[in-house]
Each structure stands twice: as structure tokens, then as C-alpha cells.
Subunit: 481 residues, 2 copies
Amino acid sequence: MTAETTASVAEWREALREHLGSDLVLTERDQMVAYCRDWHGDVTTDAVAVLRPRSTEQVAAAVKLCRNLGLAIVPQGGNTGLVLGAIPDAGQGQVVLSLERMNRIRQIDADDFSAVVEAGCILSELKDAIADKGMFFPLALGAQGTCRIGGNVSTNAGGINVLRYGMTRELIFGLEVVLPDGSIFDGLSTLRKDNRGIDLKQLFIGAEGTLGIITAISVKLTPYPDQVATALLGLASLDDAIKLFRRARRDCCDLMSAFEFMPPLAFTLAKEAMPDLPIPIAADYPAYVLMEISGSGLVDIDDLMGRFLEAVMEEGIVLDGTIAASQTQARNLWLIREGMNEGQAKRGMHLRTDVSVKLSQLAAFVADAEKAVEDAVPGVVCVSYGHVGDGNVHLNVLPAAHATPDERVEQIYKAKGAINAVLDEYQGSISAEHGIGRLKRGDFEVRLSPVRRQLLTAIKHAIDPDLVMNPGCQLNFSVNS
Amino acid sequence: MTAETTASVAEWREALREHLGSDLVLTERDQMVAYCRDWHGDVTTDAVAVLRPRSTEQVAAAVKLCRNLGLAIVPQGGNTGLVLGAIPDAGQGQVVLSLERMNRIRQIDADDFSAVVEAGCILSELKDAIADKGMFFPLALGAQGTCRIGGNVSTNAGGINVLRYGMTRELIFGLEVVLPDGSIFDGLSTLRKDNRGIDLKQLFIGAEGTLGIITAISVKLTPYPDQVATALLGLASLDDAIKLFRRARRDCCDLMSAFEFMPPLAFTLAKEAMPDLPIPIAADYPAYVLMEISGSGLVDIDDLMGRFLEAVMEEGIVLDGTIAASQTQARNLWLIREGMNEGQAKRGMHLRTDVSVKLSQLAAFVADAEKAVEDAVPGVVCVSYGHVGDGNVHLNVLPAAHATPDERVEQIYKAKGAINAVLDEYQGSISAEHGIGRLKRGDFEVRLSPVRRQLLTAIKHAIDPDLVMNPGCQLNFSVNS
């Protein structure tokens, strides 16, 4: 940092405090670090300031001020994103705008199956508040105790219930957004059906803050599913897991709410993180499925699960299985899935991917990609698991235990290259649910067709002509336009 | 038409034939009239030519040529739209581009629950082709034997299954679009989950051809619901119908596929159109609901319907009811709903609306709006019916039988004003499912906030800077920008 920019930073900070009030502005390094470090702690950056407005009007004022000062804005929710979309990449000219203080639930209307929440509301707090009223918001993520709904919408978050309820995009009625010029787009209607032309809110969902700052959301609720049946099943292969999914899709109609695939290594990894976790099934089947059926009202969910499993076990699609007999048992089954993630983290730096292919090609893709990784980087361990029903697999790669940090970086780089090469053959997506952020920008850009690039650039310049909003996220417009 | 423009039209036609080939170009008035007249036959316009390309490349060539010639393009599917979005409004400078010859089903993948179809494919032809493979495409409209899927996507069509499956927007994976500069946006992936940043296809859904021409669509399929239970129920009021909906939403979980409200007048109107139609319920209840539950596989749908109706009749929410005992009986129940529409048409020119309010306010809105109409235009008949579960009501108004054509026009105008004034109080939508087109442009524009107008204008100019695509539809950009 040169003397000149130091002076500018001090001046910027002074101007921010003066116009927004000190209460809204953090500038001390130790206060800002939590907003400038990613969820995994892999990357720590810096910012001119962290702004923490309490209202939509304060967000709008902050945007106008930053624009006048020549500062770019990185919007941030719970900072639980996995692709570096919400932390600055150029600390000398960027502020973080955190929505954490805009965390009110403005309205819950159980008669209308709707609610209106501010962007900074923590996901699980909304879920708890509406459960009391017999309602359910289907977005379900590991980070739900920390992530904030504005971030979920900005990244179009996925999670374990997507196969029944869709991505976040499909769970919302409307948005309030502060645009790059500081004006407020007021689209917080809770109308279930409104077909007045182009649906502007769609642009901001998944834009990761590059077109504006989502400040509030009206969400679509469903009746609370008071019946849940959860089963852990052992199978002969991933191919059989996909066969089972197709069968369950038909037999359980629209009542299946989760269908997660895991390899046997999941149990080892989960035990490494949670040594006391009960594993209620033999750990030597080639493939496992964690399946959930749920519903409210008059449908008998337990009976449905029982009859379904009876049929598929008799036919030999499922070799072994256990159905949770209590909520605690069901929770323990899900802890295997979560423990598997923690176990991977305990093994040190590793490759996390979030790819998707056509459902009908998933088993072939995983086999080809794992083989490509093993050929390219002998000695690493592949852990493939995920949301099979969506064609979405997290094909992660753990470097060998004895690898040095430098070797790990190299192995991860090579493994990612091997996976992406196979993925491209399958015309898959490098980001099924996590988004692009800054982490995947390079991999995104090289796969972008000229027509898509042109459209994205035209839209960016139409809505954010001065490139104020989250520069460097998704695409580097200042370079490419 | 002056001599000068006649010359231009002749020159334009010659240039179109020369560059595209005569086979693709209709210019005779009697050949063009079907493409220049709306579905109800209320409006007939004119065009320089009707272009009928057979491939995406021919669409792209036609767009480039029209652009060079200074001709605007009105894309058209099955021409079943209800808001004049697909017929020209300035015959001297516009061509119709019909997708009717691009009607192939490119691919059906039952293992992947997906299909790829060209925009000109008739909706029912897709539905039939996939039913053979045990699959289902949930879009269900009265016009499904004539409408084409590209039009359904361009208008984000609704229909009777929205409450379970969503609008057309939620039923598609991807789009192929010819953009206003003639380039081709290739987004025909069938990935169920792909979260690579801004979802460009969303812009074209519901844009009614103002941003480009949708040429092909990849669609999301579900297992064919081989069990269907249909019931016609008599109730004490619309308020009770909404109470019943909420109860059914919970008790029947996600298996309810239709919930239509009708007034007793529905039977009279249906009988006027179809005198032999059986009406298997007393016709003197104040309100009726046509309800459908459906599913595939192991859920017992008939049992569910039976237990649900038993409970709600015992509680007095439902006063009387009949469950269809065969497919024929179910079809006849739906014919009452369809006959009601035909009966209205038989009564001559009338007001058709397509409005929505919050579900919890629907009964109050209908009461207030009907009263406002009766106060403003004594002697007319209100017919309110529709998709109650979506908060979407078609509040139609039939002028008195003896009214002259001029009186009808005046009564319709006054009635629409009265309904819209009440709708605005309820913050409702003037278009729940039909779109804006040219018919509702005025009513749309006066309710548009400056921020929305600015965003729509910025996007239009970013993607269609020369205003080539469907001018006059949705917004009049040439005037307002």
C-alpha cells in the first residue's frame, strides 16, 4: 500500500463515518477480519470498511455514497458461501456491505402460506419462527444456523430438499433490491401468480450481488411436514442407487424430500469426526443411499416407506436397510452425512467440487472422473457423494496423508483438471449449486460461449454501468467488456 | 396506405422471397389472415409477410434479414394467446414469424425425466408422446390441442395444474433463443441443477417475444400420474372454498393437482354450450369446487380423496359432493368448467379478466369487486371463477342480453375500471397468467413504478437496441425511452 492510497483509505473512512454515522462503519482490522475471511478460512483479504446498515434506506444511502466516493461494494450475508463471492478481492477500493443487522421477519401469513423477511435473517430462525405456525420453508443446508436468507437468494442456494421443492429460486415470491444507483426495486409482493411480463426478480437470484443488493425477500411456505420417514440403505453400486431413485420418484410420487448418495468411506470419515456416532448398518456395501419421504395430513408416510422398501428389497435393488424409528435415530442418520464433511475437513486441505451431469449419466460420469483422477494423481482418495436425484455430485479428492502443503496444492490442481476434462465431455456444470463467486470465475469464463458472455456483459452494463457491485465476482467485466 | 409505402411493401416482400426462398414467405392476404387475427376473432390486423422457417438457422437468417430491411418481427406460436401479444399492430412495417413448422420433438429421455422440443410443437402432442413412455408434462390448458410450447414459454403460461407444479417457468430446464442480432443463444441443457451465475433463460420466459425468439425448449418431466381422483363439491361460500383449499393443501400434502372454484351460474352457462352435459350435483349451492388429487405409484389416491372428503363433510366445510367413478365421469366434470367458458362466449362480447390477489384476501376481493361492478354498471352479470389455490380469479362480466354492441363496449370499459380500482386497493395483479401483450399494455404501464420501468427499458435496450422484436408488446419502448 503506497502513501497515496493510504491517504485515500483514511479519507474514504472518514467520509463513510461522516455521512453514514460511526455506528454503521467498521474500519479496525480486527473488527473487519471476520468479514474478509472465507468460511473455510482458506483466504483472508482486506477492505476499506465494513458497512452494517440497519434498514433498506441505509443500504440505499450507503450505495449512493460509495458510488460518489468511487468505492466498490461487496454485499455479504452470513459469509458461509463456498466460492469467495462475498469477500473483497481488492481491499484498497472495496467495502463489505453486511446485511447482518437487517434480520427482522417483517411478516408471517400462515393463511396465505407466505412470509416476508429481511436479507440478514438467519435461515434457521425463519424456519423455527414459522414451524410454530405449522408452516415450513423447504431450504435445508448444513449452514442453516449461520447462513442468511439474502445470501441464499443471491447464490440461489440448493441443499438436500431440492429434488422435491427446487432451488431457492423456486421458493420465493418477490424481492426488494437496492440497485447500483441507490434506487430501491420494490418487488415484495406475495402474489402466488403474477405474470406481468418479464420477471425482473429472476435477474438478481443467483447474481451473487453483482447487479444489486437484496434487502428483503417474500418467501413461499408449505404446510409443515409432520410425518417424516428416513432410511439408510445399502446397495451394490451407484448405478443401482440411480435405478432406486427412478423407482422412488415414481412410487413415492412427489413425497420424496431427500435422496443422498454416499460411499462406504462416509462411515470412516464420519467416525473420524464423531467417534461415538452409531452406524446402524453394515459398512461394507459398495454404495449407500440416505432417503427421506415426508408429508403432512392424511398420507401415511411410514406405511409408504415400508411398502416401498419391501418391494425394492424383494427385487434386490436394495440389499440392506434401516428405517429410523425415532427423530433421534433420523438425526443420527443425517449426522453421518454431516460427519462425512467434517471428516474430510479433518484430513486437511482437499479438493471440493460441486458438479452436475444428466441423471442418466451420473454413474458413468463418476466412474470415468474417479478413474481420471486416479490416473492423473496416484495415491489420492476420491469421495463422491451428493444429491443423486438432481444429478449433482460432490466429487471431492483427499490428497495422501503424507503430502506436504505444496504437494497438496499441486494434487488438488491436477485432480480438478482431470475432473473438469471428464465433466466437459459429459456437458456437465462446474457449479451445480454453490455458484461462481471468485473461486470458479476462471473455470466459468473459459467455458462461456461468446453469446452468453455478450448477454451477461450487456445486462451488467445496463444495470451497473459503473461496475460498482461486487467487481471480480462471476466475471471480470472491467477486463472483458 | 400511400403509394410510397406500397412500393416499400412490395420491395420488402421481394427481398424476403429472394433471400429466404418463397417456401418460407407468405404474402397473400388470404393466407396471412389467420396469422393476423387473434384467438377470439376480436382483432384482425395486417403484416408485410408471414415467415415460416423450418429450422433455428432459418429463424436466425430471417431475423438478420428483417433487421437489415428495417422490418420489425412479431414471433408467433399457436396464436392462442389472449392478450394480442402475437399479432402485428403496424402491418406496414412488421412481419409475423411463425414457429409452426419447427414442431419436432428432438429428444425424449425417460431415464432422465427430460425432453427437448422445438418451439412449434403443439402442447398436447408432446404430452401424448411422453405418456407412452410413462411420463407427464404438467402444463394443462384449455388450448393445449392448438397452443405451441414456444408460446407457452414466451407467455409463461399457467393453467389448472399450477398449484402443484408451478407456472411454465418452473417446468423447463433450458432454452434455445435466436437473439435480436440473429445470434443463437444455446441453452438447451437438461441439467436439473446448474447454478452458474445469472440464469439467462429466465429473461426470455414471459418476455412475450420482446427480447428474442424461443426456438427450442428442454422440459422437465414427471412420472405419469396413473391415479387421478376428481370431485365436484358444493359449498356455502367462496370463503368456505378457501378454507377448504387450506385444509386440502395440508391434508393432501403435495398431491393436489387442481382446485378450481365455480359459481352456480357455471352450470347454466355450460348447459347453454353443451345441452346434454350431465350435472351430477344439485345446482343451487352458493359455491362449487372442482378438485383433483393425483399421483403415481404406491400412494392410494382414491383412498386419500375418500378420507379427505369424509372429514370435511363431517365438519360441514363441504355440503355435498360427487367423486368421479370413471375417467368419463371425470372428463364430464371438467367439461362443466370448459362449457362454462363456451357458454360465456355464446352470450356475446364480454369482459374477461385474469387477476390475482393474496390467497387470504380472495373472497373479500371478489365480493368487493363484484359489488363495484354492479354499482358501476347495473344489469350486468358477474361470473367469478378460477384457480383459487393460486389466488387467481377470472372475474368476467357479461353485459345484459339486450345491450347493443356500443352499449357492450361501454359496459365492458366501465366494469374493467371498477374491477381494477378494487384490485389496486388489494395490491393485486392485472395479469395472473395471460401476460401483457398489447391488450393490457395500457393498464400495465400506468401501474409501473419508475424503477421497474427503468430496469425494463435498460434490459430492452441492452438486448434489442434497435427495437426489432415485437414492438408495441408489453411496453412501448420507442415512445417511453
